[in-house]
């Protein structure tokens, strides 16, 4: 049929255009390749080149006197990563990322379960929209709102006083950071867990009950194991996003809340040591590479 289209076109005006479109119709992969080449070239020459520049930069040094980057190759920046306080900062970052991931899992699982098994179709759709929309509200604004809430005379302590509970002064602590990260990334956990739970056939649950398992046993032996890929997929987001963040620690964290992101940020600005910042930024990259390998074994990639 492509040949037919070509034959009708032969005698008509605009023959050159026609032969171009006929050629591309006959060679679909060439057409696809032609279309995709512009964005690919743009990405290779800007984005991939930038990632290479980042890695190369980590092997250079900054002249302490002029503050200019000197192009001599060495591993000093990476060696410096092993001097305090950097191991502590890296350890703290990974710890917070793990705590945030765990909290998101605990909050998201029953909620996703509710969406799949209890909520009506309409309610489920509405709640899914209500879960995703906050992701589009400025991330900075959402972090800032917690600064107002956690304030000594903010909404949290006001509510606690109304409930006749003691004051909670967690503003500018690691607890605040943990809470805010959990809040910010929670939707990223809910969605894959929801998708994972939705795929479990209800007959599995029925079969488990028919065989005499209690609701709790079914949850533990049937539903949870099948939900692991979804939880793993969600954890990729919560873990990775926490590893690279510097806004939340800067706004709601305290003096002892420096994360990798803050140190990178400070080295670009105040300390003016871009090569060291680059070496430090390679740490979350390396951690994520290992993390992704582990999560792939748990089946996370099929649930993304």
């Amino acid at each position: 049929m492509a040949a037919n289209a070509g034959r009708t076109a032969e005698g008509s005006p605009g023959g050159a255009l026609r032969s171009v479109s006929r050629f591309s119709w006959r060679h679909p992969w060439l057409k696809g390749f032609g279309q995709v080449s512009a964005p690919v070239v743009a990405f290779l020459f800007v984005y991939v080149a930038a990632l290479v520049a980042l890695l190369v930069q980590g092997l250079w040094t900054t002249d302490a006197f002029t503050g200019k980057v000197v192009h001599t190759w060495n591993l000093d920046n990476f060696r410096l990563l092993f001097d305090q306080p950097y191991p502590r900062v890296i350890f703290r970052t990974v710890g917070i990322a793990a705590a945030v991931t765990l909290a998101c899992m605990v909050i998201a699982f029953p909620y996703a379960y509710f969406l799949v098994r209890v909520a009506s179709r309409r309610l489920r759709l509405a709640l899914l929209v209500a879960t995703v929309l906050p992701l589009w509200v400025s991330y900075l604004v959402r972090v800032y709102s917690w600064r107002l809430i956690l304030n000594e005379d903010g909404a949290l302590n006001w509510s606690l006083a109304k409930l006749r509970l003691p004051e909670l002064d967690i503003a500018f602590t690691n607890w605040a950071m943990w809470l805010v990260f959990t809040y910010i990334w929670l939707p990223f956990m809910v969605l894959p867990v929801y998708a994972g739970l939705e795929r479990i056939p209800y007959s599995y649950v029925e079969a488990s009950a028919d065989l005499g398992a209690s609701g709790f046993t079914t949850l533990r032996r049937v539903i949870l194991p099948l939900a692991v890929p979804g939880l793993a997929a969600g954890s990729i987001f919560t873990f990775s996003l926490t590893l690279g963040d510097y806004i939340a620690p800067a706004l709601v964290g305290g003096p002892g809340s420096q994360l990798i992101g803050n140190v990178v940020f400070d080295n670009i600005g105040l300390a003016n040591n871009a090569p060291f910042a680059a070496a430090l930024a390679a740490v979350p990259l390396a951690i994520m590479a290992v993390y992704l390998l582990v999560m792939r074994r748990l089946g996370a990639f099929e649930s993304l």
């Binding site: 479109s21 964005p39 929309l133 906050p134 604004v141 806004i247 992101g261």
Partner: protein, 264 residues
């Protein structure tokens, strides 16, 4: 299968989660109308004066203008590159296709600080000054994938026989694009553009590393908040930012969930 108690517990949990997600945003909206300079709860009274004060602030206006220009340009770049990538990858198979898909997803898969710092190193290496264009390039990296995902999703749902029929009836590739492809994927392009705009307009992490001394609106707000300056104005702008990012997203949602989508 769930017992009554379990169901009640799950209902309560869901209510708590939705409250957790939305109460901070609502509280932020209330603070925008705080009549006092002091940011305590509950606010003593309502006023709208901070909106006009923010509007008449030179710095705020400059930042607003820069953010808007950067978002529009980044969206335009994303439409062209993301659209082309989607057309090229959705219908045809060739060697390296999956690697190319991964390439476009990288900017949102890697932590923002990595993308930001990488671009920063790149610009410094080539001696490129930080201007509007460096911000646009930074934003375009993660906006491309938004348009790409939207258009690819639509193309996958669209039957290839439309394009074959068009060719059978003697249309050139360009006529097919104009009269068949564009009407079919048009709304997904618009939706992708709206989402890209919403994402770019309030992005802060990549922007920090690609803006140099310039201030986009989020960068200006971040500076104010860190130094504890101009907080009433910050609150007012925060509400504006919430509304400006939610409107395009709501529109995009309507465009992509069109009832005709399931027909093909």
């Amino acid at each position: 299968m769930e017992t009554r108690t379990t169901r009640i517990g799950l209902w309560a949990w869901a209510v708590l989660v939705v409250a957790f997600l939305w109460i901070p945003i609502l509280i932020m909206a209330v603070y925008a109308f705080n009549s006092s300079n002091v940011q305590s709860w509950p606010i003593p009274g309502f006023t709208t004066k901070w909106f006009s004060e923010a509007w008449h602030d030179e710095e705020v206006r400059d930042a607003l203008w820069l953010s808007t220009r950067a978002a529009l340009l980044a969206t335009a770049v994303a439409l062209v590159l993301g659209g082309l990538a989607a057309f090229g990858l959705a219908r045809t198979r060739f060697f390296g296709r999956d690697v190319i898909s991964l390439l476009f997803v990288l900017p949102i898969a890697l932590p923002g600080i990595v993308t930001g710092l990488a671009l920063n190193s790149f610009f410094v290496f080539w001696g490129i000054d930080f201007t509007l264009w460096t911000v646009v390039i930074g934003h375009a990296t993660f906006c491309v994938v938004i348009v790409f995902n939207n258009v690819v999703a639509r193309l996958r749902r669209t039957s290839g026989s439309f394009f074959e029929a068009s060719a059978d009836l003697g249309a050139s590739g360009f006529q097919t694009f104009r009269y068949v492809t564009l009407p079919l994927v048009g709304t997904s392009l618009v939706a992708g553009a709206l989402l890209a705009f919403a994402l770019s307009w309030d992005e802060i992490v990549v922007t920090t590393f690609t803006a140099g001394a310039q201030n986009t609106l989020p960068l200006l707000l971040f500076g104010f908040i860190r130094l504890g300056q101009q907080l009433p104005i910050v609150n007012a702008i925060a509400l504006v930012v919430i509304v400006v990012s939610l409107i395009p997203v709501a529109l995009a949602q309507r465009l992509t969930s069109d009832p005709g989508a399931g027909r093909h």
